[in-house]
């Protein structure tokens, strides 16, 4: 047992830290911290910066142009990026679709799509959830029926909660290709060009005012059969594979550490009873409690990450990390909201940026309350925490 980083790992950390220091501009940092809207151009520029360094695709094998980092390196990168308030890598193409293509796609698909993902030619979004298929994803109803000529699938239905779909030109979708078999066995994985006639994207405004997610409607949309990934009716297998990839950084340790630092900064600035709030024993106890939980969770994360580095696939542990990680992140959001006191009340949000209103923010807190509400999603999406608890019980009890 050795709890410290090796010399190589420390050297790598320093290298990442120096990179972040150089590349994350103050303007970018402010936007990431919620003061201003991170535009599509900002996110694309950040991808290009990482790509130039060869760091855009940490997960990918080298043969596809990835960094092929081990789990500890990925962890270090995520921590440093969060600490530096770097934009997060938009995961849909890089972290979700690419591993599916690399494992199940044809050579032609990999040759065509992977370089485009690295170069930022396409912006991908995810077409999984439907209005009637949330936690019960396998009950999805969007259909894809082959035309008589056998050249195209005709897609009809609706997807929802499509994150950043407003920026996307491509969507990967789960569609139903067979209605007469067990739900999970009639699902296929399709790549769909958002420019195809019959697709309509409508924004959903979230409770903090942000237009972050969308509904996507499909009305007789023609998709070339070449855009089927893997085999027809095997989509559920790929989807489950993808969901484990979606969960690799599910613990959000870096986010929590950055969040806790910002809570402490806030609580040093906010005055309560003539003293900094951080000196208030009650508030200090709340902060300490979360910090203790985070220290342990971070180590749990490292233990699981190291196991994955040794080639063992994380199983039920990723569900555990999702639940504990989101509880801690949400608790930190709650502390930030509390710390700001009455100054949590103004409607500070990325969404109202650009209006003429100048918001009071004497603590330099940013939109802490909006963030608190927005991050209620953490325990809902990617398989709600209730679904995760069900998985943990089912797997460990073998029922």
């Amino acid at each position: 047992m050795d709890l410290s980083y090796s010399d190589e790992e420390i050297a790598f950390r320093d290298e990442v830290r120096a990179f972040m220091e150089e590349k994350v501009t103050p303007e970018l940092r402010e936007k990431v911290r919620g003061k201003g809207e991170l535009t599509k151009a900002d996110m694309e520029a950040w991808h290009a910066t990482l790509n130039e360094r060869g760091w855009l695709a940490p997960n990918w094998p080298k043969k596809f142009g990835g960094a092929e980092w081990n789990a500890v390196q990925k962890h270090i990168f995520e921590e440093e990026a969060a600490a530096a308030s770097a934009p997060r890598i938009v995961p849909f193409g890089l972290g979700m679709l690419a591993p599916v293509l690399q494992n199940f796609g044809s050579k032609e698909q990999n040759d065509y799509w992977l370089p485009r993902i690295l170069n930022g030619d396409d912006w991908w979004c995810q077409g999984y959830s439907e209005p009637g298929a949330g936690s019960d994803l396998a009950s999805l109803k969007t259909t894809a029926v082959k035309n008589d000529a056998g050249t195209h699938y005709i897609v009809n239905g609706q997807k929802t909660w499509t994150t950043l779909g407003q920026h996307a030109n491509m969507i990967f979708c789960l569609v139903r290709t067979d209605k007469d078999v067990k739900q999970q066995e009639g699902i296929s994985f399709l790549l769909i060009d958002m420019e195809t006639p019959g697709i309509e994207v409508r924004p959903i405004i979230l409770l903090d005012g942000t237009p972050e997610v969308n509904e996507v409607f499909f009305n007789d949309v023609e998709v070339p059969v070449e855009n089927l990934v893997g085999e027809e009716n095997k989509g559920w297998t790929y989807a489950k594979f993808l969901l484990t990839h979606e969960r690799t950084n599910i613990a959000g340790v870096g986010f929590s550490q950055a969040g806790l630092t910002s809570v402490k900064r806030l609580a040093r600035a906010e005055m309560a009873g003539g003293k900094p709030l951080i000196e208030n024993p009650h508030f200090a106890a709340r902060v300490a409690q979360v910090e203790i939980d985070l220290m342990a969770m971070s180590t749990t994360n490292m233990r699981i990450v190291s196991k994955a580095a040794a080639g063992q696939a994380p199983g039920v542990e990723s569900s555990m990390l999702k639940v504990k990680g989101t509880i801690i992140r949400q608790e930190i959001n709650d502390l930030a909201r509390r710390a700001a006191g009455v100054y949590a009340m103004p409607f500070a949000s990325e969404a109202v940026e650009g209006s003429n209103e100048v918001l009071p923010d004497p603590l330099d807190a940013g939109p802490v309350a909006a963030k608190y509400f927005n991050n209620r999603k953490l325990s809902i999406f990617g398989g709600s925490n209730e679904i995760q608890r069900g998985i943990i019980a089912k797997v460990t009890m073998g029922s």
Partner: protein, 377 residues
């Protein structure tokens, strides 16, 4: 003991509930939220006509209520519908201070207030006062016949719409002394008074108010010079009756929406409420709601009690409502899932009202510490 409402209060509750159900649905309210003023003058006038403002004042003050339970009945209904119009700020806080302390001339404003034609705001908190009621750095100094006000007031709800502000300022003493604080009635258009407004996350608007050599006559002083602290504390007690009752009403809506959704939303071929993991958590909400209802009865029922008794109940209730509020706000969202994250769904606004109430008049921690201090004495 009798926990029934009086006939008059029951009637008021029924009328107000019916009115808001008919006139204040989600779509109407969301339009108000999007509007520049953040409130509807039509709704305001209709609320006044229904007697909602009059119910918050005693007969001597020109109303027909004014007791703790009158305030609680009105605000529970306002909360149930997620009303964002500034009844609390105009009537309970600023109007209440005029009623408590005003001279006959000053009290004359109450008629307009109760009739619905006067808007007010209470400019008290400051950027570094957090939830302390006696930390007042704004100064008031005599200059000839005038009093000159200087300072900055933080997150003054309804300041933009207000015709007049009730401003607290220090005439003597240290920045956190209870002694030395006075109140002044200041016209919003007074020279040197500037208002920088913004929308609030949970609806309505507030402003940073700067007083730069604002001159008012001595007749603008509300109550005795330097002796306002006790009156402010008493008014804050009434404001906390209003806010906790409002939060109770909002929580009732949150629970009702959750119940309906659990019964109708199907996943895995059955209503999600049939999953025990969700059903038990819904039951926990109902258990805590009974605690919340009792706490609101306690604060309302002790508003007319002696100072120590009253304040003990203010802090106990505000603490409990803050804790239950966070639970109900978060759990009702979680039990719904994604739909509750969308702005157009009723719960989104209701949950914001519930949680953000903890940021006014002292949060859970503030009132826990205060309760300890009050009960240790």
């Amino acid at each position: 003991m009798n926990f029934d409402l009086t006939e008059e209060r029951q009637m008021l509750q029924d009328t107000l509930r019916r009115f808001l159900r008919d006139r204040y649905d989600t779509e109407t309210r969301n339009k108000i939220l999007d509007s520049d003023s953040g409130m509807s003058s039509d709704i305001w006038n209709e609320l006044a006509e229904l007697g909602v403002i009059g119910a918050l004042f005693t007969e001597e003050q020109g109303g027909f209520g004014g007791k703790g339970f009158d305030i609680a009945v009105v605000f529970e209904e306002l909360g149930r519908a997620g009303v964002v119009e500034p009844v609390l700020d105009t009537a309970v806080l600023a109007g209440g201070l005029i009623a408590d302390l005003g001279t006959e001339d000053q009290q004359a404003h109450l008629e307009d207030l109760i009739g619905g034609s006067l808007q007010l705001a209470f400019a008290h908190g400051e950027p570094t006062s957090r939830y302390d009621l006696t930390r007042v750095g704004t100064t008031a100094s005599e200059k000839g016949d005038d009093i000159i006000l200087n300072g900055r007031k933080a997150v003054v709800v309804n300041a933009e719409a207000a015709d007049m502000l009730v401003v607290s300022a220090r005439e003597s003493g240290e920045v956190d002394d209870a002694d030395g604080i006075s109140l002044f009635l200041v016209p919003k258009d007074a020279k040197g008074l500037s208002v920088q407004g913004y929308a609030l996350l949970a609806g309505g608007r507030a402003a940073e108010v700067t007083l730069d050599d604002v001159a008012v006559p001595a007749s603008a002083r509300l109550g005795e010079a330097g002796k306002a602290a006790a009156a402010i504390e008493a008014r804050m007690a009434a404001a906390n009756v209003a806010l906790t009752a409002e939060t109770l009403g909002a929580m009732e809506t949150a629970c009702a929406l959750t119940k309906e959704y659990l019964g109708t939303r199907k996943q895995f071929g059955r209503p999600i409420g049939t999953f025990q993991a969700l059903a038990h958590r819904y039951s926990d909400l109902l258990i805590e709601m009974e605690q919340a209802r009792s706490a609101v009865i306690l604060i309302a029922g002790h508003l007319e009690a002696d100072r120590d008794t009253r304040e003990r109940h203010v802090s106990s209730t505000k603490n409990l409502i803050g804790r239950v509020g966070r639970l109900v706000g978060e759990e009702s969202i979680q039990l719904h899932g994604g739909i509750a994250m969308t702005q157009e769904y009723e719960l989104a606004h209701i949950a914001k009202r519930i949680v953000m109430a903890d940021h006014r008049f002292g949060d859970v921690d503030h009132h826990l510490e205060r309760f300890i201090a009050l009960t240790a004495a």
